[in-house]
Symmetry: C2
Subunit: 430 residues, 2 copies
């Protein structure tokens, strides 16, 4: 029997406690599958007294995670603190300095510093494993990096934030407003007290930046992710989406185009029949398009103690088995920088919702603004009439260019008869 | 740079040619991702002259795959011959004897001899890798064995045969009969000239037996898979399924129950809203239920040159990276035999279609036969009337026991007013 793999866990929140619980409950299968035990030798968290439902009596306690990272008896440091800077970053850097493998669930850290951390780890023959950082329990990092390793990936897209997907699903099924559903989600613990990280798309963008690197073998480029959240999606949009045959999802999309690599997070309308349209509630989903394998879809829980712990422990078991690949699938030094494709270059269809004064000539003005930018309208919907008052008007376009669309919307938004800023949702035909 | 991984390929049909094509076209990314090249040093197939669209001029040719298996220069033998006995089996055995790793797409071989082959390989520190044997391009073996390694899996089920799923999808969307759609599928190359392997469920059963081992850590037990194909699914069943809110799918289901391990392949009615219900055409899908991760769904192409080659090459890249686990996730010697749970112990709901003479008392007789076996009816449908003639009658039951259901059907089938053998489709509420 090989010696046990010794781990130090920094951060004992929901996920940290879940990891300890999993390691305790599944000790027998883990040993059988890895040929060795995984043993927690040290932990670190903010409050020592808190009951986490696991026995920590035989484990060394550190108040400071950075000190824990250099614990002499550990083979692996598990970083579950979170955040792109500060304690999390220092903990990971210290662990690598000290020659420890790192397993982390920290997408913010990887989105901002992934390439440097990978280079540092690889220079020392160490792993930085992060299955839990993207799409929770779904083994998508392994799936892409190993399962689809023989493919050139041309696109990866998915539902990467369970909070947003929960809110959008609730809005659709209950007809309620965004603010209302968000308040409920906060009460249920599905959304944070400060929800902006989730609902403004930042969390999904972190994950997308990491996913892009794994899919395309490029350095992590969070700065070039276009990000737009779900605050402006209204109850009305769901009615129209339904009538038009679409569902509304917050998607992260990374695509290799002729211009370079496109990375964007924003609300999308997707056809009801698209497999991803059926992924509701807190579930996440990722679709990868490879040249040989074609489309592969992965669906599962994107957050929560159990699913995230499942992903963290899968990484630990890979390390225990001595099986790990370069962080992003190819050695950090060989990640090849790609030109970012700007958002203005996006091509596709658009859904636009306007509040306009119901009087003759307004629609003709809007149509003219579109025509002037060479944007071709596909459908136009005005339900009900209220002469002289503001009414919602919805239109969809044929495939066009983002820059042209933005110019058309600026012109339309400036018109006196258009009483609210135009709202636009991009249509993706998967 | 490490030396190249040298492979010998036995079998150059659709998949074999696909593998050679992939290795040639992606040589650069493979080398970058593995840190070494994968080099084809020898091949074997039935006809040497055939143009396979790849250059074989620098490769050693063998007429006999078993001789190829002992090729002195190969690190890995890729077996793409197929079949559980004969040349395929001899090739794999010879390769392992000679100290070669084996990568195979052969589900029949693994279903019949998987445990022994795994034991033989492991005794010599060799890999037997078989991602391509189950669900084509979907990285489900890796997903289960590594991605969900920290979980105890309680159930795995899926659409494991693309031919059947294509036929069932066509029957549903066109309203045509089984025989008619099958003939078309044969013309299109989606079904073999002798289709029984696919449509009688044997191929799906092979895959299920392998999947069960990986999911539960048990020796492969093909002999205890209950198998029922799709020949008896009629156009009528699709009408009724639609009315009742179901889709019809041929599923493979493996479940840990109180009785032991249940393995079964048969047509199922699944709720339209179940994610698997939306997987149409030649696509495959697998859902695994783990205790920490909860449900994870994988969808992708289950056959074809590209997807299957993608899976074969993923295995080769694992070997090239020196990353491989025991064949079934735990060492063959530690696979723990489980009691098979007999089909008679299945619990669930049932859909039954009968052709009965339309006259008073017949339905009462049927209801009595059900009641006598304690089977509780949920719905009853007789559309249209034709006094004195045979009409279809459909009923569904509440959850009941397979043995009781079979006894009730035997009684019903023996009645003079029931003019065709009763047809039954099990309802699965995922």
């Amino acid at each position: 029997m090989t010696e046990s793999l010794k781990i130090a866990v920094a951060g004992l929140g929901t996920v940290g406690a879940g990891v300890l619980k999993l390691l305790a409950e599944q000790a027998d299968v883990i040993e059988q599958r890895c040929g060795r035990r995984i043993e927690v030798v040290a932990v670190s968290a903010r409050s020592r007294g808190k009951d986490r439902g696991v026995d920590l009596s035989t484990v060394e306690w550190y108040d400071d995670p950075v000190k824990l990272a250099a614990h002499p008896g550990a083979d692996v440091v598990v970083e579950l603190i979170g955040g792109s800077e500060g304690a999390a970053k220092e903990t990971v850097e210290t662990a690598l300095e000290a020659g420890r493998h790192v397993v982390t669930a920290n997408k913010a850290l990887l989105a901002h510093h992934g390439t440097e951390l990978a280079a540092k780890a690889e220079s020392k023959g160490l792993a930085v494993a992060f299955e839990a950082a993207v799409a929770g329990g779904i083994p998508i990092i392994k799936g892409l990096r190993e399962g689809l390793a023989g493919n050139r990936v041309s696109e990866v897209h998915g539902i990467l934030n369970g909070t947003c997907n929960y809110i959008l699903t609730e809005m659709r099924t209950t007809g309620r407003d965004f603010a209302d559903v968000l308040a409920d989600a906060q009460k249920l613990g599905y959304a944070e007290a400060d929800p902006s990280f989730d609902i403004d798309g930042v969390d999904a963008a972190h994950k997308l930046a990491v996913l892009t690197s794994v899919a395309f073998g490029t350095p992590v480029d969070f700065g070039n992710v276009y990000v737009e959240g779900i605050r402006h999606v209204s109850a009305l949009d769901f009615d129209y989406a339904d009538a038009l045959g679409y569902r509304i999802k917050l998607l992260g999309i990374a695509r290799r185009t002729e211009q370079g690599i496109e990375q964007r997070v924003h609300p999308c309308m997707v056809p009801k029949a698209a497999p991803i349209a059926a992924v509701d509630g807190v579930f996440n989903a990722v679709i990868a398009q490879g040249d040989f394998v074609d489309r592969v879809l992965f669906v599962g829980r994107g957050a929560g103690a159990g699913p995230t712990a499942s992903a963290v422990v899968a990484d630990l078991m890979d390390v225990a088995r001595g099986r790990f690949t370069p962080t992003f699938g190819v050695p950090a030094a060989q990640l090849s920088k790609a030109q970012p494709s700007p958002m203005e270059a996006r091509r596709g269809a658009y859904y636009v919702r306007l509040m306009v004064v119901d009087r003759p000539g307004v629609i003709a003005d809007i149509a003219a603004a579109m025509r002037d930018q060479n944007v071709s309208m596909e459908q136009f919907l005005q339900r009900g009439r209220a002469p002289g008052e503001a009414v919602p008007v919805v239109l969809t376009t044929h495939d066009t260019n983002e820059a042209a669309m933005q110019r058309a919307l600026a012109t339309i938004g400036a018109k006196e008869a258009v009483v609210e800023p135009p709202r636009m949702i991009r249509i993706e035909q998967f």
